[in-house]
């Protein structure tokens, strides 16, 4: 099977800063792959390398079999890029934006018009089509941007954080749109900071941090490696933290994580631990601590990193709440 993306030992430096540090990954065709990582992990740098916008200093990078350095022109013919910031012209209407891009791809005026119309329908933008983009909401702008990368029928669609900054409703909308594309057989490379997004859209997830691949696999594989859910207890009084921590300590399992600032104690509670969970909760009750909240939740991106690498993410604070849906 041909590889859509083949990266080996990619290195890109910006001055002293190493944005990509020997990154390697492979994407087979017919797949959606999500590159998952915290702020500054190197996602955009990778995407820009794949899109021929920057040239990595070292390593090899092939897109649909073409070398990004020697055959950049061929790469550009097969990709469609929707960058991290919606690159649509605010002073043009939605339709004008799409027609412009289509025509720049060499389509006749008639073809371009028809394709723009098809994209507008696909993304539910028909009604807003003739309004200037500056009147669009963030979600609409994103959709239009995504549409603009589609009018050329790319083999590989590249999306850099397509839903960052969108409200939950627009996020779901955009996910549906991306899924519709995938069904039509477009390969997709997307980056995200959110586990649930990667889980929902991608058949394969590559987790990167500080320019390196940390882990990769199907969502199910990764989840198996992470373990199950997290039991989190939130106490009212900081003085009660040790009580709860002790009640939740158990032989042969990592000690509970304590977050003093938010007065939360969390501990891994994998699927086989139902009985222990009950015991643990009983012990918490008997400890006499006053509880604010108690929850069994999905692990955050942070905790996934911790589980997979034994290290915190390079920007642990900024990605606290991402969760992974269990299969």
């Amino acid at each position: 099977m041909t590889l859509t993306i083949e990266a080996r030992g990619l290195t890109k430096r910006f001055g002293k800063k190493t944005a990509l540090d020997g990154l390697s990954l492979e994407v087979e065709s017919g797949q959606v792959v999500a590159v998952l990582g915290p702020n500054g992990a190197g996602k955009t740098t990778f995407v820009r390398s794949v899109s021929t916008l920057i040239r990595p200093e070292e390593g090899e990078l092939k897109v649909c079999g073409y070398d990004v350095r020697r055959e950049a022109e061929s790469v550009r013919r097969v990709i469609g890029l929707a960058g991290q910031y919606a690159a649509v012209d605010q002073a043009l209407s939605g339709r004008e934006n799409l027609v412009l891009v289509a025509r720049l791809f060499g389509q006749s005026a008639k073809q371009a018009k028809a394709n723009a119309e098809a994209v507008l329908e696909l993304f539910g933008l028909v009604e807003a089509a003739d309004r200037l983009v500056r009147t669009y909401s963030g979600g609409m702008r994103r959709k239009l941007d995504l549409g603009a990368s589609l009018v050329s029928q790319p083999r590989l669609l590249i999306l850099d954080e397509p839903t960052t900054g969108l409200d939950p409703r627009s996020r779901l909308d955009l996910w549906d749109a991306i899924e519709a594309l995938v069904e039509r057989g477009t390969d997709v490379l997307l980056t995200t900071q959110y586990l649930d997004e990667a889980d929902r859209l991608a058949r394969n997830i590559v987790i990167i941090d500080q320019g390196r691949t940390v882990a990769s696999g199907t969502p199910a594989e990764l989840k198996r490696r992470i373990g199950g859910k997290i039991l989190e207890v939130h106490v009212r009084d900081r003085a009660h933290i040790p009580l709860v921590a002790q009640a939740l300590t158990r032989e042969g399992v990592a000690a509970p994580e304590i977050d003093e600032a938010t007065r939360r104690i969390s501990v891994g509670a994998d699927d086989g631990a139902a009985q222990w969970l009950i015991d643990g909760l009983t012990a918490v009750r008997d400890s006499g601590a006053v509880l604010a909240d108690i929850a069994v939740r999905e692990p955050s991106l942070d905790e996934v990193f911790l589980a997979l690498t034994g290290q915190k993410t390079s920007s642990a604070e900024s990605v606290g709440t991402a969760t992974l849906e269990t299969a």
């Binding site: 919606a86 389509q107 073809q111 603009a148």
Partner: protein
């Protein structure tokens, strides 16, 4: 649901089509931003009115020429710079908003992105200059030479505009964001003030005069001036129209070649 027509994925617009499409886009974008249109039209006229009616009296006449006849050609020349400065801001905006990234990720002629903008901005410049010229006549400016000379001067301004468009494209690409590109407007102020555009260089202190007499805006302003003032200008400019026109064309040619090479190289090179 309509489907996208297949078999089109390998296309690309040629340089002529591409230039046309992007020129149209730049023009439409400009016209749909009333604040930019108004700024362009009002900016030079306002400066001209200020000089004419506030400083004009104080500055008086030079070599038997009314100040208005001396200064209007200078304002128009300076106006070329102020107008083409917008090119830098437009390019920086396109970079900031990812439009240039999108184009660069497409199988698209690098040069067309830039030529499209140059064509559009030169067209816009022609209109703005026409308005500025009209205001010049309204405040009392009169051609002292032939109408042909006046038309030549106007054409010459467009050539300067073409050259400066390339300069400001390079500035926009190098600046990379609107704020930095706007910072350059300060330099434009300095370069136009330290030239013969507004006042004769003879009135400047030695060091400033040395700079002013050897920089492009002076050559250009004097070229426009000598074409519109004819023999009247020879006396105090020291040379006839031919001398300044050739000098200014050398400057324009140099600027055009140097900065189009820089721009295309910068644009083509994978950034960063």
């Amino acid at each position: 649901m309509t489907t996208l027509t297949p078999t089109i994925r390998t296309g690309r617009a040629g340089i002529v089509t591409g230039t046309g499409l992007l020129a149209k886009r730049t023009t439409v974008t400009f016209l749909r931003r009333p604040e930019l249109v108004v700024l362009s039209l009002v900016q030079m006229s306002a400066i001209m009115l200020t000089f004419r009616f506030i400083f004009g009296g104080a500055i008086g006449t030079a070599h038997g020429l009314p100040y208005v006849d001396f200064s209007v050609p200078g304002f128009i020349t300076a106006g070329v710079l102020f107008q083409t400065l917008g090119t830098a801001i437009g390019i920086a905006e396109d970079m900031e908003q990812g439009f240039i990234d999108r184009l660069r990720s497409m199988p698209f002629s690098t040069a067309a992105m830039l030529t499209g903008r140059v064509v559009a901005d030169t067209g816009i410049l022609a209109i703005v200059l026409a308005v500025t010229t009209a205001v010049g006549f309204a405040v009392g400016f009169r051609l002292q030479a032939s109408v042909l000379g006046g038309l030549e001067a106007f054409g010459l301004c467009l050539v300067f505009g073409l050259a400066f468009s390339w300069l400001f494209i390079a500035v926009g690409l190098l600046a990379g964001n609107v704020k930095a590109a706007q910072g350059v407007s300060m330099i434009v102020f300095i370069v136009t003030f330290a030239s013969s555009a507004y006042v004769p260089t003879q009135t400047m202190p030695g060091w400033l005069r040395a700079f002013a007499e050897n920089q492009p805006v002076t050559a250009m302003a004097n070229a426009v001036r000598s074409l519109t003032l004819g023999s009247h200008s020879q006396a105090f400019l020291g040379h006839g129209p031919g001398y300044f026109v050739i000098r200014s064309l050398f400057w324009a040619g140099g600027i055009l070649v140097a900065f189009s090479v820089i721009s295309v190289a910068k644009f083509r090179r994978a950034a960063g």
